[in-house]
Symmetry: C2
Amino acid sequence: LLVIKAIVEYDGTDFSGFQRQPNRRTVQGELERSLESIFREPVKVIGSGRTDAGVHARGQAISFTAPEQFPADKICLALNSELPIDIRVQSSETVGDDFHARYSAKSRTYIYVVLNREAPSALLARYVWHLRNPLDLSEMRRAADGLVGIRDFASFGMPDKPGASTIREIKSIRIAQRKSAVFFAVRGNAFLRGMVRAIVGTLVEVGTGRRNPDDMSEILAAGSRDAVKVIAPSRGLYLTSVEY
Amino acid sequence: LLVIKAIVEYDGTDFSGFQRQPNRRTVQGELERSLESIFREPVKVIGSGRTDAGVHARGQAISFTAPEQFPADKICLALNSELPIDIRVQSSETVGDDFHARYSAKSRTYIYVVLNREAPSALLARYVWHLRNPLDLSEMRRAADGLVGIRDFASFGMPDKPGASTIREIKSIRIAQRKSAVFFAVRGNAFLRGMVRAIVGTLVEVGTGRRNPDDMSEILAAGSRDAVKVIAPSRGLYLTSVEY
């Protein structure tokens, strides 16, 4: 058996998230169904992490095992001809036997996109959070600095298993504007469920003057989901890369 | 009665084109339905031109009449709260009584987007034409020069009414590349049905070496739809602006 690593892009709009669930359309479910149809045997797909319903990916990393006799360089094309149009494999390669898309990952980078202008966009409706009120980038950057580091993010999200650790490391939060788009790039070792969206929602409150940048330490200290008031909608969120 | 001009953006994917048709979801149909619900009377919407099924618009211009007592500056917000998410009005203004979105238009600009790289994109699947073979921009520009001017474009498209003139003026065709996206910007006084897609399809044949840039005069001279072999798919096409 060969271990294969692949980079996958998907439009999360019409999926109930990454993780396979019975009777739901999921990214993992579609990937496993397509691989089974190619290899003619059951395949278990491992993702670098679960993305929530509606969240997109430009660079989700997955791993799975393939039969030796299947040419590894053909997997990418074969998968794209089996997969639905809203999932596209960008590349695939043979990796070492010990590679595991989730456990081998050192960090993940998410980008959140806000369309910050008066007029809404029909063409971007599935892909951004439209906000009319101008965002103050320097205030948001000051608040973001208060979240970087190894911290207990219990206020910002839930662990996959109840009772598991809520300590994560945020390595960087960069906020940039190009024309009317505001981008939030958040890199961390791993993320709790809903964590990036809770962070962006809270930063947007700061950016519109409804919260003080210094509130972050209080929110972190609260250790309760009630401390976060705004969760950014999933349509603006992209898992952009996984670092190994 | 007031005459209102509005600029409309739409995602053409789920529409049977701009023009109202019975039992089909159309942009004009949705606009008229929404305006009727706001004004509580039948409204006739005039577009600068018809876009085909699946074609998008960033700046379609429309005109319609509104009751005097309705505040003109409220129309944009009122429309956006009535319209489906894949149509968004960008702006609206009161114009002179003689304004007609179609007959007053001096020119239209369309942009066609090709994703020109090996890997397909899930996030852009609805919005670009994906082509793996590298396009030769200078060859395509040479071919495009042969189409600019006042010419009979019968080979490239059909008039709205059978037997009507097929003479149009193309004012400019500009071709640019940014990263893996190739953009074709075509400005003309007016366009036949399918004309921009037939032009882009033919230029792509030139760009991949399957046609000679000097073929354009022969294709024009043929005066027959059979002379054009490739029609670019509608998902890459955007009506971007209408000039008055």
